[in-house]
Amino acid sequence: MGLWFSLFTVVILVLFVFMGVGVVGLNSLFGIVIPYAALLVFLVGVVYRVGKWARAPVPFRIPTTCGQQKSHPWIKANNLESPYNTLGVIVRMALEVLLFRSLFRNTRAELRDGPRVVYGGTKWLWLAGLAFHWSFLLILIRHLRFFTEPIPFFVNLFESMDGLFEIGVPTLYMTDIIILLAVTYLFLRRVVIPQIRYISLAADYFPLFLILGVVLSGVLMRHFYKVDIFKVKELATGLFSFHPVVTEGIGLAFYIHLFLVCTLLAYFPFSKLMHMGGVFLSPTRNLANNNRMRRHVNPWNYPVKVHTYEEYEDEFREKMKAVGLPVEKE
């Protein structure tokens, strides 16, 4: 259900461009208005949602750890698995954000013959996820050659690394192949594994199809349905310097690519894709496990009037002495 709905939606989006640009010729709508609107929705939406999350109080540390926490000096503490200071948190967060460490730790329980539970690591999701995200980042960086003038030096660096094998002309990029394989795996995994298929919704399939559409349209545009990249850059730099120009004759493949990207951007703040910001705000990852070292006061506690022992003793010292009770201060 969710699968077909998502696929159908992406096909409709593509047909929409065929109609809008190919038949009606609304180049300025698809080339200028929609990209600006999508970028605005993306930026405002992401900032709004992160701000909303940030306002939710997190009064206590949630130590979901799997390492020895800091206690006595003669017990070896594991500052990576159970960080007790900011440095440990930064390392744990970096490993999480850059290398998806908690996905790497993913295990699967399986019943073998004779009711025997077997646990094993499953690394495929981690591998495909990592390949997908890093390829996506490199592809984004590569795209800077269309967005900037003069082109920053690192763009060429990544580009030549990406096209290292120099297969064909224009050079086949490794990231293009990797991201196609990774997205295909991430999709097939949802369809083939019954448990995952059962919990998969349209919200899971739609981003996958959308990204697959973006990648496919990009690859087709580079290698098969040629577009005028000279004019593409003119349009892109025009957009990014707020002097948009309507350019004719770029090619339909480009508008399909652009429109799917715009859809992705506009859809982003409303979807599970917000894990981009959310990963930084995971309380189980970004808080040091120092519950025993520091007192964390609940910020919304009602101000309770307390009567400490020191004050008690001050009040009753004479009487305590008179009945022979020990006092701390004479």
Partner: protein
Amino acid sequence: MNNRGMIIAGIIIFLCMITFPIWYNVVGGKAAYTPEFKIVSKEKQCVESTKYMRAKHMQLLNDWRNSVVRDGKRTYTALDGKKYDMSLSNTCLNCHSNKADFCDKCHNYVEVTPTCWNCHVVPEGNKL
């Protein structure tokens, strides 16, 4: 726990990274730059039509190279039936002798680094 500072810093870093092309173009101040086309040519008509050449010249050149270097076949029959010698130096550069104007302007603009000049001698027209 008040993380306002961290959140604001994070959001600012995010916005700076996303809007990199905008402020980079503003600082660079060359966003409006588009190279002037200068098709320097002796003949009226290239090997194939202008549209074909603009879209696929890289594939054509690659095919020519493979054909000449690997198969030793040097004759190219264009779509209109005309025959050409498959040679970058003698056929292409005969007309388009100014590499700086004809090749580099567009290639630099969209960051394309063809490997032609790893082997071929840069044409005379390029000298200042």
